[in-house]
Symmetry: C2
Subunit: 653 residues, 2 copies
């Protein structure tokens, strides 16, 4: 896409909603499961009667977060997202912290969404069961391939499945509600089972019970991941950008809450018993169900109950759920390389990740993301319950720092603003951000405390490692930049070397050597000589004879190599030239062959390469490669860099 045309593909709200909402909406496929099974550790009765309380707490947090982010959307419409808000208001270290957290969470979004998608698919398609890890890895590889190729039209591609998903769940909720009213809603398969508490959870004290509720709440907060996506995507909206984005955010919040509440209510009505460890927790007639029992997801069990007598309904729910989870994973495939590119621009990541025109930049990001996600899926056996313990920490670090930043933002603006109406508005907005910061901070503490030993520690460690790496990279670039800076008034580097001493390296008389000689002569150096390293006296003598015979008008100097080395004599000779005439420039011409195939490359140019690497460390020495194109090289040029695959979300930031 040409620069001129960027920004033309702006999104109307009806497309923006599904594009940005797949991640938060899809979490309704696993968040209720996690709430139920965590509470279920203390027994089935507790879980069924209390899950709505936990869900309500999640809804409250969702309201607060949506309200807060509506402020962000107006204040920072440039698309920098939480990273920008934190950097501007809290300083670069906070920004890097947010970035580390988000990078880790992108990886987890892929791992969790795909794992959940596969578990959902298993409810409808028996053959997936027992092969979850393979299917999940296969899906990630597929997503990677699609993203490496670049998806242009992802807007409408996102729209259909997301709307289908919303429609399916809401239809299910309505059908469920009607049947519940009429008393014809059947119970779930697992309703007849008894959910036993795990050992150690049989008779919990008040404090332990509270802790269990907080753990369930932490897992339920997975519903909030991806809410920040809209604030990164403001530039992709149609004008008025900020208002449209804020409206979309609100819509998304309403729908997410509706879906979550629907699912938790349906699960309660159908009496779903959902265990962390079905084999040891579920019993029928006093006997454990054992290892053969297959526990469907809550979504699967609910849909089977609601659509009893209409199996197509079950299949459709399962299909669209799987689809939206894959789309949710795909949002990370967009977000991760974009964030990587922004970080590279700011000097926290290798600079080549920024070059917009460079397909490699995005490809590297995509491949790193996929590799990390695949590792997680394999290590955690594609089990959502284990992966979810690592999740959310990153998002809430980001939420909290972002909202803290917003509080500072309003404080700063309040200092400059004098008009009372504007000030009142700002005070109101600051209050919202403050509530957001406090709530997110509390949730963050709850998540860390309740999940640290269950896996959140790993996520935090990964963030710390990323933070250190990015800080180091940034320090490195700063140091280099300072060292390379041209001091005002400095003329030292514009002073020209007094003379040019050219050396052409010759090992045999062949076309590349003659071309190198011709090119060196064409540059008319102050002094020109051909140099060969005499490893074998007989070969050197033969070379000298042929040199004379061909009447090559350049002197050939043979460097002794008593130890039959090639690099050292040349380096020593160049060093001696340098010390004899420190103000001269020494140019070393190296004849090289260009070959077409990689394995051919292995067979040639090795000593030239080593010599060049060595000479780079000597100031005042320049190495000129004179390539000779062998016929096998024709048409084998590496492809030119092409525009990165872009989709609408990259908009014009």
């Amino acid at each position: 896409m040409s620069s001129d045309r960027l920004g033309e593909t702006l999104l109307p709200k009806k497309i923006a909603l599904p594009v940005f909402a797949s991640d938060p909406l899809s979490s309704v496929a696993y968040a209720p499961d996690e709430i139920l099974l965590t509470l279920g550790l203390a027994g089935g009765a507790l879980a069924l009667t209390n899950s709505w309380k936990v869900a309500l707490a999640v809804v409250v947090v969702m309201v607060v977060v949506v309200a807060s982010y509506r402020q962000n959307v107006y204040a920072y419409p440039s698309g920098g997202g939480d990273y920008e808000v934190a950097t501007v208001n809290l300083g670069p270290r906070a920004g890097v912290g947010v970035a580390s957290a988000l990078l880790v969470d992108y990886v987890l979004t892929v791992a969790v969404s795909i794992s959940s998608g596969v578990q959902n698919a298993a409810a409808a398609f028996e053959f997936v069961r027992g092969h979850e890890v393979e299917v999940a890895v296969g899906l990630i590889v597929l997503l990677t391939a699609v993203n490496l190729r670049g998806v242009r039209e992802s807007g409408s591609l996102f729209a259909l499945p997301t709307y289908l998903f919303m429609a399916s769940i809401i239809t299910m909720a309505v059908v469920g509600a009607v049947r519940h009213e009429r008393g014809t809603l059947p119970l779930a398969e697992s309703a007849g089972l008894e959910l036993l508490p795990e050992p150690g959870y049989e008779a919990l004290g008040t404090l332990a019970m509270a802790f269990l509720f907080l753990r369930a709440f932490s897992s339920g907060c997975a519903a909030l991941t991806g809410v920040e996506a809209i604030s990164n995507g403001v530039p992709a909206f149609r004008r008025p950008k900020s208002r449209n984005a804020a409206t979309t955010l609100l819509l998304m919040g309403i729908i997410a809450i509706t879906l979550l509440v629907s699912m938790v209510t349906l699960a309660r009505w159908t009496g779903v018993q959902f265990a962390e460890d079905p084999a040891t927790q579920l019993a029928i007639d006093g006997r454990l169900v054992g290892d053969d029992y297959v526990q469907d997801t809550v979504m699967g069990q609910v849909s089977k109950a609601v659509f009893e007598g209409f199996p197509m309904g079950v299949v459709v729910v399962s299909l669209v759920t799987g689809l939206i989870l894959v789309l949710a994973a795909n949002t990370a495939f967009n977000g991760f390389p974009v964030l990587g590119s922004i970080l590279a621009r700011d000097g926290y990541m290798p600079r080549q990740l920024h070059t917009r025109g460079d397909r490699l930049a995005f490809s590297n990001g995509i491949i790193i993301l996929a590799g990390a996600a695949i590792s997680l899926v394999v290590v955690f056996d594609a089990e959502v319950t284990r992966l979810i313990q690592l999740y959310i920490v990153g998002v809430f670090v980001s939420f909290t720092l972002s909202q803290l930043g917003m509080v500072r933002h309003w404080n700063r603006h309040l200092r400059l603003e004098t008009r009372p109406a504007a000030r009142r508005d700002m005070v109101r907005r600051r209050a919202i951000s403050t509530v957001g910061a406090v709530v997110c901070g509390v949730v963050l503490i709850v998540v860390v405390v309740t999940k640290f030993v269950h896996g959140a520690g790993f996520a935090i460690a990964a963030m710390a490692v990323l933070f250190v790496i990015m800080t180091r990279i940034s320090r490195h670039y700063a140091r280099v930049s300072k060292e390379l800076q041209v001091d005002p008034g400095e003329t030292d580097h514009t002073r020209l070397p007094s003379r040019v001493h050219a050396i052409v390296l010759v090992s045999r008389i062949h076309k590349p050597a003659l071309r190198a000689l011709a090119y060196a002569r064409a540059t008319r150096p102050s002094r020109l000589e051909a140099v060969t390293v005499s490893v074998d006296p007989a070969e050197t003598a033969a070379l000298q004879d042929e040199w004379e015979r061909l009447r090559i008008p350049v002197q050939l100097k043979a460097l002794d190599s008593p130890y039959r080395e090639v690099t050292r004599p040349v380096v020593e000779y160049v060093k001696s030239l340098r010390s004899d005439n420190p103000r001269d420039l020494v140019v070393v011409y190296v004849p090289e062959y260009v070959l077409g195939r990689w394995w051919e490359q292995v067979l040639h140019n090795q000593s030239a390469l080593r010599l060049k690497t060595r000479l780079r460390f000597m100031p005042g020495v320049m190495v000129s490669s004179v390539p000779w194109q062998l016929s096998s090289s024709a048409g084998q040029e590496p492809a030119l860099d092409a525009p990165a695959p872009g989709d609408v979300r990259r908009g014009d930031e």
Copy 2:
């Protein structure tokens, strides 16, 4: 070691013998085991009474091979070995065939010797048992490290353990013989067991029995590997080289035969029952011994019987046997890289493997050998019996082709020789070589036929692959050489480009860019311009402003990049310059930073590297790298190439 001093470290016979003999002598540690267990497939009685027949057949082959190789030593004293003999007399394809076979066999020498050494060590040191693979891999890694560092004084290092080994075995034989005469030689531990035939071998027909004998003979021929080492090492002997080498060869043959016959005889006297599969073949009082039975090597069992009441003797035999086996493996660490270097010289291997002065050349060979040997040890669980099935094929391919070559050699010389005495001598020698070729050929056929399905097929496949690779490499070098050849009378390449058009790539104004400009100006090109790629119009404008401000006396040209690429606009621009003035030389100056640490390198110069790679494919374009040494680069130069680690065996070839 300087070229001048090479050849001073020549070996007296008393050192040469242990240096070259460790490989063939050490095989007495496993060859009797293999003979016994192969015969033992048809039951213990058969094995005990017939092992001497098989050993005798091996002795006959040994006599023939030693006699034949004494001819080689006189006729080809240059140290090229079988590869040279085959190449000179049978043509390059035969030479490459011999080389493939020897390379494969070097790998197997390491794997078999080390595995056998570990199994022997287990007889004296209980803690090794059950960890054979780990210990074997550890030993190979240790050998690799020692060889990578380079062993100077390996002559005397080899002498002591080899003589100790000979002395130990001969002492054991003498003690055993005396005790046998006196009737005080105890039976081996396993003598009381019954060795049952394997299923399918209970009642073999004559043909099947003959086949079993041939299989035992094939394994016994492992005693012959390494005999060719002396013919490779003639240049390392003191004068008269050939005669000393021939004498050493004879001595080695006599000692090897003595040791082999001693071991087989002692095993018979002590009644060793040695099974391929102890758990299912060995029985006591009609009950199988089962998986718990630990079967010592024949050497271990014999030494325990002979030195009954003197455990130190057992430990010494076990120790020196382990030691000589490690030394035997070490000979391959010398032979493999030397052969690789010779093959590289002749264009069958990547040329950089030849550069004598290049430590890397030998290091690569050593690492490839170690890697291949470790793979074999791991795949075959460090079990000699399984590895030995792959062994010997290579050696006998080499023996056979070499002796065939010798027959041709004498034929050729007979055509030119007229003196009757000399002719008689030649006819005699040709007869010896002919017998050698026929016997080795027959053994080769026996080995291939009896062992193909047991593993020899893999070895042959590996040889075939190496053969194809080497042939391809040779063809590639020939094609390139032809393409690069300067035709007589050709003046095209000495014609100078009419003008030089210099381009300095600039992305920012910093010291490296200013240095590149200064260097480019120093070469006084016909035309000079600075070029920048305009990815961001604002940045480009800022660059141009600063350019003016600094009054840099070179014009700055901005290349448009509508798709925000870097490489393509430069390549297109250079292309346009080339087509406007095809006889001009275009020199592209690329400012680069030199950094000290590898990870710093990752953070810089990526687009410069890509551009340079791309420009190499354009004729008439030369790329000059202008390095700027950052402070972190100081003292981080890669080490200069140093002489390869050499030991006495590399002599002065």
